[in-house]
């Protein structure tokens, strides 16, 4: 994902913007990272440079949880504990 994309993104569910961006790995583009909606507390992973922004019922819980575990050192505590739709608590 290119950084510039953040200028037009919004939370697909509550439509809040801007989203908060946390970058884990970046080359020419953001390879791995996290998009956070600070209004509804949903988080969206960026994996292999593609932001995954599906509604809750289409998300893969196991994949999401392993993403949180993989990057937990770099993910804010409130998302790890209370992030939607899935968290580590």
């Amino acid at each position: 994902m290119k950084r510039k994309l953040l200028d037009i993104l919004a939370c697909p569910i509550c439509k809040n913007y801007p989203l908060e961006l946390i970058v884990f790995e970046e080359k020419e583009e953001i390879e791995e990272g996290l998009l956070i909606c600070n209004k509804c507390n949903r988080w969206y992973p960026i994996m292999e440079s593609i932001p995954h922004m599906l509604p809750d019922d289409l998300r893969d819980k196991e994949e999401d949880l392993s993403f949180l575990r993989k990057w937990k050192e770099k993910i804010p505590e409130n998302i790890l504990r209370e992030g939607k739709p899935f968290n580590l608590s």
């Binding site: 994309l5 919004a10 439509k15 292999e48 922004m53 509604p55």
Partner: protein
């Protein structure tokens, strides 16, 4: 859930078009002739096969394996559902949906989202496989036989698609079609034609009106 089927057959999707080059080229000629300008999005971008012709900058689709192919072609992609589009309001000059309308479970919600993300007077294009054509009848037959993708489809006539689009706050301004040659006897690349007369692929161009 039809997109899961698309994900399963992601690689075969482009392969089919490679085997049917004249069909692909005819459809691409039509899409190119629409002359879409500005900042555009493809809703249901799939493998991005039409992106170079529609001039879109961004595509969304829920099918990740399709998106990975699109991404490898240099298109900016987001895994998202058409019912929940992850963009701010009024950011796009145009939005296009190619052979996607028939696979939507909640088409009105998707059109509402497209309306929201388009700028005032923005352009919306829906390219459909009209049910009331020789091609449409073939797709309907395949659907009844349980075709792995068509079994999920609800095919529209051009009239039905136009009234749906108009109902959702757009004004249809142009219909342009291709694939006059019937299925099974498709021999040469076609030039796009205005209107619809038993064509297998029609693009409906509309303006965001309210």
């Amino acid at each position: 859930m039809s997109w899961k089927a698309f994900d399963t057959y992601a690689k075969e999707y482009d392969a089919w078009y490679k085997e049917n080059k004249e069909i692909l080229e005819s459809e691409c000629k039509l899409i190119k002739s629409l002359d879409l300008k500005g900042f555009g999005i493809d809703i249901g971008v799939g493998t991005g096969i039409f992106a170079p012709f529609s001039n879109v900058s961004i595509g969304i689709d829920p099918a990740i394996n399709m998106l990975k192919i699109a991404k490898s072609k240099g298109i900016e992609v987001i895994r998202a559902s058409g019912e929940f589009v992850p963009f701010r309001e009024k950011v796009f000059d145009f939005a296009i949906m190619i052979a996607t309308l028939c696979f939507l479970e909640r088409p009105r919600e998707v059109l509402k989202e497209i309306h929201r993300i388009l700028k005032d007077n923005g352009i919306f294009v829906a390219c459909i496989l009209p049910r009331n054509s020789k091609w449409g009848k073939l797709y309907e037959k395949k659907k009844l036989e349980g075709h792995r993708l068509y079994k999920f489809a609800h095919f529209y006539t051009v009239e039905e698609a136009c009234s749906l689009i108009n109902e959702m706050g757009f004004k249809v301004v142009m219909i342009r079609s291709t694939l006059r040659q019937p299925p099974g006897a498709f021999l040469h690349v076609e030039e796009p034609e205005d209107g619809f007369k038993d064509h297998g692929f029609s693009c409906i161009k509309a303006i965001k009106s309210k």
